[in-house]
């Protein structure tokens, strides 16, 4: 039932008893954990949306000195995209009951994510070495903050990934692994999207 139909029901009327009693508890047929994740993702979307908005607002002022885009960010972006792709492979394998594919995809995804984080830290070090400090330049400040917050979110994802990895290592049945793998995959895709958005923002400046 659409949300408008629901909001239009008149619970005090007599025939509502027959309509409403069909209700089976969950409003959506997705697993509860997935809904929890969706709610969380919407919170994170607002978070990055606001940072982007603040960045754009600040860019409009005349004294904005944009960062020269480090070439290495392109490499990192590719690594993150492959990380996401590997997890997608794990997810598909889980659906097809292919344990081997699941394992390879899942571990590859995690390793690539760690590589992405290491790459980001390298970019930071290079920037700091070449004198891009945060003092007196908002563009640099925004860059460091965005990459840091994005990295922290990925780190949180790696914690959940680690929990699933332990379960895979313990030889838990594939049926019970599936949800965890799918949630990781969803989260990775989301963080990839966020990163692409943020990267585009950096390129625009």
């Amino acid at each position: 039932m659409s949300i408008f139909r629901i909001l239009a029901t008149k619970p005090w009327e007599r025939n509502e008893a027959s309509l409403g009693d069909l209700h089976g508890g969950g409003e959506l047929s997705l697993p509860t954990q997935k809904i929890g994740l969706f709610v969380f993702l919407s919170v994170v979307t607002v978070l990055f949306g606001l940072i982007a908005a603040a960045n754009v607002m600040r860019m409009k002022f005349g004294d904005w000195q944009p960062l020269t885009d480090p070439q290495m960010l392109w490499v990192n972006t590719g690594v993150l995209a492959f990380s996401s792709l590997a997890l997608q492979w794990a997810s598909v394998s889980a659906r097809r009951q292919n344990l081997k594919g699941l394992k390879i995809g899942f571990f590859l995804g995690g390793v690539l994510a760690v590589a992405f984080l290491a790459g980001q830290i390298l970019v930071w070090r290079n920037l700091i070495d070449s004198g891009h400090v945060v003092l007196g330049n908002s563009a640099n400040g925004f860059f460091y903050m965005i990459t840091a917050i994005h990295g922290l979110h990925l780190l949180g994802g790696l914690w959940a990934w680690g929990k699933s990895a332990v379960r895979i290592g313990r030889g838990v049945e594939i049926r019970e692994l599936r949800l965890g793998v799918e949630l990781c995959t969803l989260y990775w895709h989301f963080l990839l999207l966020v990163w692409l958005g943020m990267f585009a923002l950096l390129l625009r400046t």
Binding site: T9, R14, E16, G25, V43, V46, M145
Partner: protein
């Protein structure tokens, strides 16, 4: 119309507590977490109450108390505001009442992610402890005003600019993480864990209010999170997100290129929804109190739900009405004045519906009902002054005067707190199995209600004569008449009377826990699910072997033809008590 049996709902796994520690301290039970949240929030709220009394001492009797210097006065103001808005009201309504009521009112056994829920409380406690710690660091807590506007917030001369502000921002960041954990639970539980037959439109309005407020909070707190992180970076690492090039005390600082107005936009993008994060649960709860104690169904249930949703949506497009004097583009001001006036429409619908619920009801002037009616009066006063301040041309001269102080204390200070009191008097019997003492309750009500009017009503006049807010002292200002000074004294005396009577309330909570009259499971003869639990107070898992079945909405009071004046949500249409009107009656044969 055929009658269909409610569909099956999967039960969730419960983690039964094993020992005292898992039962009462590291508990995953929503009811214990709710009480932990409530106790912590009320505890820190009492600190804020004491701070407000200290402020009043200075305002009523300037210069008499040597321990209140300008710095400490600003620290009292700042911490009072921040604690009351975030650490008391937000935490108490969502963490306290949300945790307690959502699973019970929806017929769930617990929140859907009990472990995350437990984590939410403990992180909230850490946030409170960090906040309290800021009282003890060198320089004391921040005194920048609860809005924490840069650049002054981190400049020399603002109290607490070195340590206090850092702890304040860290505490806010922890609070937001804690709240997000709780908020995920509240939203997902309402969506997914309702019992059989509990459709969205059968939920009590308390759940609707808390549900919508949680969504608002989840979407608004990120703005505070971003501004807190950026301000913290400005303060600690020397970034210039908000700090412009500035000369402070003859010294050119390293900052440059920051935009203070950006902070105001981010802050109020959170700050205005925050008003409704506090108000919507109060709206919901007060609707239920009025309906139960007037023995009448809530007037216009659908309208009430729509209004809650509409207010929730609109609250995100009014934030800049806090910034009319900030120097932003004046055209913005007209846009935000328009949206601000539009949001008065759903709010007014709610007020009319509350009044119409009372009309020809069987009004029982119990203590919860007294508080609920007092809420309507107070909220109308605060809401009407909101219409004044929502208009740019009226706001500009009144901005930063006591008129604003009177407005927001009436509308989001006193009004929600009255609901908090009403709700505690209402649900205390379910939480403890005993009634709160009625005589003490009535005394507490009348002193609090009349006392808060004695405090805030005169402030409107202070505002009109131009007494500015946030001033440590108004001595030596020619335009302020002597009567303003005596008025300030009387306000201070009223504030102390109201403050002291809260001790009686706390005493009542403790005394009644041991000596109160046993309440039985449903002392108010209410219909909603929390009153139908097999045990009072409800045990872990809430419902015994079977979760309840819901056959009707939560407002079947005084139903014509029924044998008693309330029909619990669990009462089947087959029950002889129901009688003809809402029963299946002649349609029995359709049922197989």
């Amino acid at each position: 119309m055929a009658y269909v049996a409610p569909a099956e709902v999967d039960d969730i796994e419960l983690h039964d507590p094993q020992s005292f520690i898992t039962k009462y301290i590291w508990s995953q039970d929503h009811k214990v977490i709710a009480l932990q949240y409530a106790a912590t929030a009320i505890g820190i709220g009492l600190v804020a109450l004491v701070l407000s009394l200290l402020m009043r001492l200075q305002l009523g009797f300037p210069g008499t108390f040597s321990f209140i210097d300008p710095s400490s006065y600003y620290q009292f103001v700042t911490m009072h505001g921040m604690i009351m808005v975030i650490y008391l009201l937000t935490a108490l309504f969502l963490g306290g009442f949300g945790n307690y009521l959502i699973p019970l009112m929806c017929g769930a056994r617990d929140m859907v992610f009990p472990y995350v829920n437990m984590l939410s409380y403990w992180l909230y406690l850490v946030a409170v402890l960090v906040l309290v710690a800021s009282f003890f660091v060198p320089g004391g807590p921040t005194g920048a005003g609860w809005t924490l506007y840069p650049p002054q917030v981190i400049l020399q001369g603002t109290p607490g600019h070195d340590w206090g502000i850092i702890l304040m921002l860290v505490s806010l960041i922890i609070f937001i993480v804690a709240f997000t954990m709780g908020g995920l639970n509240y939203v997902t539980t309402v969506l997914q864990a309702r019992t059989r037959g509990m459709t969205l439109m059968r939920m009590p309005l308390s759940v609707w209010g808390i549900f919508m407020a949680t969504i608002l909070a989840l979407l608004a707190f990120p703005a505070l999170f971003v501004s807190a992180v950026m301000l913290l970076l400005d303060r600690t690492l020397g970034t210039s997100f908000f700090m412009p090039a500035i000369i402070s005390m003859g010294e050119t600082l390293d900052y440059g290129g920051g935009n203070p107005l950006l902070f105001q936009h981010l802050f109020w993008f959170f700050g205005h929804p925050e008003v409704y994060i506090v108000a919507l649960p109060a709206f919901g709860i007060v609707s239920d109190l009025l309906s139960v104690h007037a023995r009448k169904n809530i007037f216009g249930y659908r309208m009430m739900v729509w209004a809650i949703v509409a207010i929730g949506v609109l609250s995100f497009v009014v934030w800049a009405h806090h910034m009319y004097v900030s120097g932003m583009n004046p055209l913005f001001g007209f846009f935000f004045a328009t949206t601000t006036l539009i949001i008065a429409v759903p709010t007014a619908i709610k007020v009319y519906n509350w009044v119409l619920t009372l009309w020809r009801g069987d009004i029982h002037l119990t203590v919860p009902m007294l508080f609920a009616i007092a809420f309507i009066l107070t909220f109308v006063v605060g809401g009407l002054t909101g219409l004044f301040l929502g208009n740019v041309v009226v706001d500009v001269p009144l901005s930063d005067t006591y008129f604003v102080v009177a407005h927001f204390h009436m509308v989001m200070g006193v009004a929600p707190i009255l609901v908090v009191f009403g709700a505690i008097y209402h649900w205390y019997p379910k939480i403890t199995g005993r009634m709160l003492n009625d005589a003490m309750g009535k005394f507490h009500f009348w002193v609090t209600f009349l006392g808060t009017y004695a405090i805030y009503f005169p402030m409107h006049y202070l505002g009109f004569v131009g007494v500015p807010r946030r001033y440590y002292s108004i001595e030596g200002t020619d335009f302020i008449p002597a009567s303003a000074v005596t008025l300030n004294q009387s306000i201070t005396i009223a504030a102390f009377i109201v403050g002291v009577v809260q001790i009686l309330f706390i005493y009542n909570l403790i005394w009644s826990y041991f000596k109160g009259k046993p309440s039985g499971p449903n002392p108010w003869k209410a219909t909603s699910l929390e009153w139908q639990t097999p045990q009072t107070p409800p045990v872990h898992g809430n419902w015994g072997p079977n979760r309840p079945l819901v056959y009707r909405w939560a407002y079947d009071y005084s139903v014509p033809g029924a044998a008693q004046d309330y029909l619990p949500q669990t009462m089947s249409p087959d029950d002889p008590i129901v009688g003809g009107h809402l029963g299946r009656g002649d349609e029995k044969d359709h049922h197989s």
